[in-house]
């Protein structure tokens, strides 16, 4: 809790307002875009939960490295949420793409959707792990923790999405 209070107290009102507007706009833009394109309640709920889960995971990971490894969360870590968001958007939009492709069908094949999602998740993992891993070889602390943390959270988010698809899409839409 102390970590959040420190951040909150040390931010100026201008910073607090800007960040609040930024987060609100990002959230609304993504959710409304998905809703507009898919016109599906399930997809919208999936997007909302996915965004919230990725935000929670990012914050929890910051607290974890701060408490367990005593690492100072520097302003470099502000890049982590952006990278996580980009990876999450690749993942969410790939399922939206599948929906667009199958839009003409009256029923969406959930097994196919899950299969497609699994392939995309595997592909993202295959790219994320080697690309970030080689980056880790050439950096030292404190950058190393930042890269490792970003890699782990970015890789975890598509798998969380995959489990969400399993949980939310248990019957055909």
């Amino acid at each position: 809790m102390e970590i959040f209070l420190n951040v909150w107290n040390n931010w100026s009102l201008y910073q607090k307002v800007t960040i609040a507007i930024l987060l609100t706009l990002l959230f609304l833009t993504i959710v409304l875009s998905v809703k507009f394109v898919t016109k599906s309640k399930q997809y919208t709920i999936f997007t909302i939960i996915s965004l919230i889960m990725s935000a929670i995971l990012t914050i929890v990971s910051f607290v974890f490295v701060n408490v367990v490894f005593n690492t100072t969360i520097t302003y470099m870590y502000m890049l982590t949420p952006i990278i996580v968001l980009i990876i999450n958007l690749f993942n969410i939009s790939s399922s939206v793409g599948f929906y667009i492709k199958n839009k003409k069908q009256k029923k969406l094949d959930i097994d196919e959707l899950k299969k497609e999602f699994l392939i995309d998740t595997v592909h993202l993992t295959v790219f994320l792990i080697p690309l970030f891993s080689v980056f880790c070889i050439f950096v030292t602390e404190p950058l190393l923790t930042f890269i490792l943390l970003t890699m782990l959270v970015s890789t975890a988010v598509p798998w969380i999405n995959y489990s969400l698809i399993y949980w939310l899409f248990h019957k055909n839409v």
């Binding site: 470099m76 502000m78 599948f98 080697p130």
Partner: protein, 407 residues
């Protein structure tokens, strides 16, 4: 005998050869250790890493009022953000002295240190003053009398009467263009200000900024036409003009303050070996593609298209940075290249969602560019460019491979 000559295949060959030559040139420019490929043009990657500095400032404010301290903090933050300073932290420190408050300002930036410091060392409070009746500015024994605040009387006109100060280049008396500060009044004050100036037609008045006077000769026709109160800004440098504009327009710091302490801090940005990381990323990218190919996760055609498009995207981006001499942070460039590799593959694999993905990403990154701070904003800007290049490269790659196949 009539020879049938079909120009189409020949043109196709020529265009393919030109495209291949351009592609090779772009890759060569982008690759590390090819900086000396030409003596005529510099192909060095300009990095910001070495120019990054970090410093801590302790400001002592002549007040113990919490609101005034908060307002000062807000204005300092706004000033530094307006100049796109990468990292700004402003903390309130407990002060042991009565009637005084302290602020700790930590700045990390690649921007000119002297310019950034102007933003936190100046209160920049301005007011209009009139010449004292008994002072002679033409006295040869005191040539700088017109610059001294004690030679002027205060008036009721100050920063509160002006809604905005616009810094722009105008033609000066000698025909050259120089920076001027155009003082724009609140509409209800315009007539009153002209009436005030009319009393001093042809005389010198002064604008005092933190005690330093900028003299201004009131024109004889001040009340006869649309009047513009323009004060010369003594700089030719664009960045310095921007600083002055920010200082004028970022709000009024309500209290006097001094910079009590300045401490250099170690740079928080680590410099990355550009050559090593380039080789490593190429190996990682090839490994990822080989994995997908071996495990038959995609078709060889798709993989070839996306691999070529990734090479084009990254090469084109780095080549533009090198040719245009745009300074970059190596860490951000590396992250942008990672995103480009993933984006190009995902765009190729999910063609049906390419437009939606690109649209939603660009929209989100635009929001981050405008509302994010420092590195966030810079990273978002770079990623927007590389995503657009990625979408373009996929089209180039598809056409290029199709043409090669037809031959």
């Amino acid at each position: 005998m009539k020879i049938k000559f079909n120009a189409k295949p020949l043109l196709s060959y020529i265009s393919l050869a030109i495209a291949s030559a351009i592609l090779v040139a772009v890759i060569l420019i982008a690759l590390p250790l090819t900086e000396k490929i030409s003596d005529g043009i510099n192909f060095n990657l300009v990095t910001k890493d070495s120019s990054f500095w970090s410093k801590e400032y302790i400001l002592t404010l002549q007040t113990s009022d919490e609101k005034q301290v908060r307002d000062t903090r807000e204005i300092l933050y706004r000033r530094l953000r307006s100049f796109s300073v990468e990292r700004v932290s402003i903390y309130t420190l407990p002060s042991e002295e009565e009637g005084l408050s302290k602020l700790k300002v930590i700045i990390s930036s690649a921007k000119d240190q002297a310019l950034v410091e102007e933003l936190i060392k100046n209160r920049f409070q301005y007011k209009i003053m009139t010449k004292k009746a008994d002072v002679n500015f033409e006295d040869s024994e005191d040539q700088y009398a017109y610059m001294m605040e004690e030679n002027y009387d205060p008036t009721d006109w100050d920063y509160q009467d002006f809604r905005n100060i616009y810094i722009t280049k105008l033609k000066s008396n000698n025909g050259t263009y120089s920076y001027f500060a155009l003082y724009k009044l609140w509409p209800n004050k315009e007539k009153e200000f002209v009436n005030f100036l009319s009393q001093y037609k042809g005389d010198i008045i002064g604008v005092s900024i933190d005690g330093y006077i900028s003299p201004y000769q009131v024109p004889e026709d001040v009340d006869q036409s649309a009047f513009l109160f323009a004060l010369p800004v003594y700089t030719e440098d664009e960045d310095e003009a921007e600083i002055i504009s920010i200082l004028y327009n970022s709000g009024n710091i309500p209290v006097e303050f001094i910079v009590q302490e300045e401490t250099d801090l170690p740079s928080p940005i680590e410099s990355i070996d550009y050559i090593k990381i380039s080789i490593a990323l190429i190996i990682a990218l090839v490994t990822a593609y080989i994995y997908i190919l071996i495990f038959k996760q995609s078709t060889p055609q798709k993989l070839l298209r996306s691999f070529l498009a990734t090479v084009i995207t990254i090469s084109l981006y780095i080549a533009i940075l090198k040719i245009q001499q745009i300074p970059v942070y190596t860490i951000l460039l590396t992250l942008e290249c990672i995103i480009a590799s993933i984006a190009t593959y995902m765009f190729e694999e999910n063609k049906e969602s390419r437009k939606f993905t690109l649209g939603i990403l660009l929209l989100s990154l635009l929001i981050i560019t405008f509302l994010g701070t420092g590195l966030m904003s810079e990273f978002a800007k770079g990623t927007i460019c590389i995503l657009l290049l990625s979408a373009l490269s996929l089209k180039i790659s598809k056409r290029y491979i199709n043409k090669v196949r037809k031959i």
